[in-house]
Symmetry: C2
Subunit: 702 residues, 2 copies
């Protein structure tokens, strides 16, 4: 128990350092009045979004809370679950909120700092990203520690083995709140940002003929807000969910593996160690004045590698001292996870960066029109699934067998679960290098709108384009850890069912053979789920974008002097933001309900075996589809940029138009549907765990 104190301590350290970093950022100047004004508009928009988002989600949480409470009062759930559902959701939302607050306060400051020097710009943007990264891990550790200590105290009368089992089993269900919130944030944010993006371009650039980022465009602020809403708040909630999910899944499996309290201690302290490693890593991020991709990338990577290196060293002592030298395999599992995340990130970079063959070739297919670049991009995305699938396959196999799978299934699967924790242990800093991207992007927009000198824009551009590369790495971690955690959750689900069966003296044994027809059917239904979900989210983006188009057209028509740029005439930015927000809130309901209702329906009809099959099916398809969508989308985006850089006819050519079509198709792929799938597959598992007892009692087939 003593060592475990490191977890809340780590949480406090992370939050304090985040607070310190945010202070240093906020001390910087926001620049001239025009910059301040623009930044304020973006901030106001973001606040408008948050207000609406939280009132909508609060309603959902209230309803779910009541449902869970009823189920708990009927005895099918531990009474704490409804409450922990709330805290999970709350902290996940809070992490996104703080991250976004910081980002919207740092954009103008980054632009201003970049006018001094490249390194200053980098430091401001990166610091604001680090705030988000540290807030995510800090709040995550806080939530986990709180419940761990509270539950341990509550069950203090029980003998240790039973106590820890009750604690981890209850904690496992907490993930549902975080996952629900994350899904709303990702889907909602994704719809928002893409609706604003497409809407602003379609009317502003195409119909009215004003340049991008022009302050006359009523949707331009919504567009900039969107970057923060989707890429910062959405990602923050998403990774909070991944982080907490991987730790609770591992903890729950630790009991079955026979590690007792130590099984919980290791992942929790790993996370605390990660905090310290990440903080140390941030000090290594600084650059010279050459705005070269390579140099800048090196600067950012240095921080990540230092953190990773520290974790490699510290976790060795951690594992061997807590679990003993005979369980050194767990340490290897952590390393494997860390390595797998890096390889998946590199593979994403290879398939989506225009420095490599795939995207260069894709750009070439634009010469024969939009159809061929679409086919090419889909084909590229499909092909790109091979590396992550093989890496995850090898990682699962290696971490399973190295951590003792041959003697004990539970030890093996604990290894798989902890490899996800290993992958996410550097989250504080990887998230920092990821979240800094949209800040730099916003800074570029502000530099443009505020007519700052050319070299400022050049610097922010260098920072921004680097953000695309680091985002690829970030996606690797998000997607890889999602697969591993989802697999661990299937095992945890089985443990949970077995536990309930034992507790309640039911005569039931799970039969998870793929030839069991209910498992088989579950596989099919689960396999279809990500397709259905993606269908809904893609359509949602289309509909929301249409509403923005109508509003922007209306404002240009009704507000006199707006188009002409008359002094003092301002468009109603907040209205566009509000429409995006309303659209996003409305459209995110159905996909989220799908994720919650399907596992319950499947459970009630084909029982817990069917649910397990469904989890496996959705994990497999969701993983593959998520990679495909992310990489197709990323490659289309960069193929367009490659052409804009003067290749294949350059900007304005037919091939550029074709590439724009590809990029637009890719938008919902990479920023809405794709990243949401990572959350979907875990939320489905979490819901299944929470409803396991209910399903066991009243399902048709058992």
């Amino acid at each position: 128990m003593g060592l475990l104190l490191l977890a809340p301590l780590g949480s406090i350290v992370a939050l304090l350092f985040a607070w310190y970093l945010s202070r240093t950022v906020l001390k910087k100047s926001e620049g001239n009045d025009l910059m301040k004004e623009i930044a304020k508009a973006i901030r106001e928009g973001a606040n408008a979004y948050l207000k609406r988002q939280y009132s909508g989600v609060a309603l959902f949480f209230a309803v779910m809370f009541v449902i869970l409470l009823i189920i708990a009062l009927r005895g099918y759930l531990v009474i704490f679950v409804p409450f922990a559902f709330l805290t999970g959701g709350f902290f996940s939302g809070l992490a996104g909120f703080i991250g976004m607050k910081m980002a919207t306060n740092a954009n103008a400051r980054t632009a201003n700092a970049a006018s001094e020097s490249l390194n200053s710009g980098l430091r401001v943007a990166f610091s604001s990203g680090a705030v988000m990264g540290l807030v995510v891990v800090g709040l995550g550790l806080f939530d986990l520690s709180f419940w761990y200590y509270f539950l341990s105290w509550w069950y203090r009368a029980l003998p240790e083995a039973a106590r820890i089992q009750n604690v981890t089993s209850a904690m496992l269900t907490f993930g549902m709140g975080a996952s629900s919130m994350a899904l709303f944030a990702r889907v909602g944010g994704g719809i928002f940002t893409k609706a604003a993006d497409v809407g602003a371009d379609l009317v502003g650039k195409v119909e009215v003929g004003i340049p991008e980022d022009d302050p006359r465009n009523p949707a331009v602020i919504a567009d900039n807000v969107g970057d923060n809403v989707g890429d910062v708040a959405g990602m923050g909630a998403d990774l909070y969910e991944s982080y907490v999910g991987s730790i609770v899944a591992t903890s729950a499996l630790g009991v079955a593996a026979g590690y007792g309290v130590d099984g919980v201690t290791v992942p929790m302290i790993m996370a605390a160690v990660g905090v310290v490693a990440s903080i140390i890593g941030t000090f290594f991020v600084k650059s010279g004045e050459k705005a070269e991709q390579k140099t800048l990338l090196k600067a950012l990577r240095r921080g990540t590698y230092v953190s990773a290196g520290l974790i490699v060293i510290i976790s060795y002592f951690l594992v061997t001292s807590i679990l003993g030298k005979e369980n050194i395999g767990v340490y290897f599992a952590i390393l494997i996870g860390l390595l797998a995340g890096i390889i998946i990130g590199l593979s994403t970079e290879y398939f989506t960066s225009d420095s490599y063959k795939p995207t260069k070739e894709l750009a070439g297919t634009s010469l024969t029109g939009p159809a061929t670049i679409i086919i090419g991009g889909l084909s590229l995305g499909m092909l790109s699934t091979i590396v992550p699938v093989v890496v995850v396959a090898v990682a699962v196999l290696a971490s399973y067998f190295l951590s003792g799978g041959t003697e004990s299934f539970n030890k093996g699967i604990y290894g798989v679960a902890i490899s996800a924790v290993g992958m996410l242990s550097t989250l504080g800093i990887t998230l920092a290098t990821d979240a800094y991207g949209p800040v730099a992007d916003n800074a570029g927009g502000i530099a443009e709108m505020a007519h700052l000198p050319e070299h400022v824009r050049e610097r922010t551009d260098a920072l921004d384009s680097l953000g695309n590369t680091t985002a690829a790495t970030g996606k690797g971690f998000a997607i890889g850890s999602a697969a591993l955690t989802a697999l661990a959750l299937i095992a945890a689900y089985k443990d949970e069912v077995d536990l309930i069966v034992k507790k309640e003296g039911l005569s039931f044994n799970m039969d998870l053979s793929i030839l069991n027809p209910t498992v088989l059917i579950g596989l099919f239904i689960g396999g279809m789920l990500p397709f259905l979900f993606s269908s809904m989210t893609m359509k949602a983006v289309g509909r929301a974008a249409q509403n923005i188009v109508f509003e922007v057209r209306r404002q240009f028509k009704e507000i006199k002097g707006l188009k002409e740029g008359k002094q003092g005439v301002k468009p109603d930015y907040a209205k566009c933001v509000d429409i995006c927000t309303r659209g996003a809130q409305k459209e995110m309901i159905m996909p989220a309900l799908l994720a919650i209702i399907v596992p319950i329906i499947v459970g009630l009809t084909i029982g817990v075996n069917g649910v397990a099959g469904m989890l496996a099916g959705s994990t497999v398809t969701g993983f593959v589809l998520a990679i495909m969508m992310a990489n197709s989308g990323g490659a289309w985006d960069n193929a367009k940029k490659y052409i804009e850089a003067g290749n294949h006819g350059g900007k304005g050519s037919d091939s550029h138009k074709a590439a724009v079509v590809g990029d637009t198709v890719g938008d919902p792929f990479k920023d809405t549907s794709g990243p949401s799938l990572n959350i979907l597959i875990k939320l489905v598992s979490m819901v299944s765990v929470v409803f396991a007892s209910l399903v066991l009692h009243i399902s048709l087939f058992k």
Copy 2:
């Protein structure tokens, strides 16, 4: 054994009736000299294709034959397998060959008959389709009967139980030949037809500005050949494979279910009954003179429904008399299969026909450009997976439990397998209504090129557009039966492994739990396989199309007077056909090898459990992806036609251009990658079965 004689008898009846039908078709006149000339060019092109295709595939079969022979001589395979591999491939290819021969002889005759009356046109086109349908089932039954009788004679010394086990187990591996051939035919044919289509349009229509189907276009014949090559020969080989596959899988499972010889008799005689029912059905296909979709559809459906009705009645007596009234559940499984096929077909029609909301809405998304129609089409395809998945899920569950799954797993899974046989029992006539489409399509092209009167073209158009609807139904059967057969093959694979283990006294038990890490990894790899395969086939179409573009450009440049249409100047049609063929042959190798090599590699590394997981994964993803691709593609095609019919601006408008982009993306979706996936998932299973013994002996993990 007596009743089983119905199988070869059915085969002979089918082939004789096909011969009779072909005679009646060939007696009709091909029309005027110009029509004859065009038809001859298409025929020559088709022959050129076949020549090349068969020489390429023959090489593959020779190599595989030697490999299988070596494995067999080493004792890891029954010695007949290499030979049956050849006959399976030979008959599958032969079915496609005869079907295509017939189709290329019937196109001009259909055009000519249509100038007499609509009903005459319908009869000629339909009869030629029926020839193909009957040849497929006739040759299938012939191949099956031959091997059944031969092997029963060979193993005559064994007691009945052991004999039938040896026979069915050997027959199971025969499917590999048929599936390999089918994959080559589908992939090759699909690449050919789409390369020619895209190439002809891109240069002819866009660059040179001559109308579609203009005889000056060097690729126009290749385009028409393509319809026959892809939609007739490819489909014939494909459904031959489905037909044979479902019967051998069911037979193999019959032994484990404890039905002995009867377990083989039922599916074989079901097939024979299907032949008779299909032949009777053909007599009910005739129409009046009103060229209305509804009336014509009724005419074709009447034939299918009569056949289905007959099967519903006869199979009741068949099942109860052979298996006894206590096994009436098997009869229900057959009905469920039949019904499931019809529902999937209707769902395909709903999602892809422009008479319904989804495609109409999709056409509307073209108003905002190509990107939105692409997103809309992908979203539609993804959404459309829900019905087939739920139908297959319910069908599996119902046929499993109704046919005795509660007492015996093997009886239940036998029910699942035979439901696929039920689904395909009307194949003779469903394939006829399907294969008649490309004939009508070709007839329309000939009517256009030969300047026949307007009303002839109207009639062939009516027949052609009906073909799109019946093709949707056909796809329902192909895809639904593929899923059911693939599931049955997983069970058959397990039986096979168990058999080998028992025979050779190995100490090994399969553990097919989804939590077994090798199974889990298998699921992932299997789940990725269809994505990888589709990536390759889509890229292949792109590359092959490019070669055609170059050749057509060359001919227009180098052949003097061609563009101007000078008397006596003819383009080199055969050259384009040859390029398409070469391209198709070259490009089909890698995807086919993938299907054969991956299961072997997976087996050798993660063992038979991993292979089973891989089979489940590829079945699930392959099924879902195949439906999505088929329906997205179909909907784009019909959305374009809907716009061409005068909606949303009609032909030549911006929305039409956007719809053309959608249609072009849909081409490889629906005619190359999508339909090949059905074969892929079965070929992978067949290969796994054939290599099971080898894998069991030398794999790393067991």
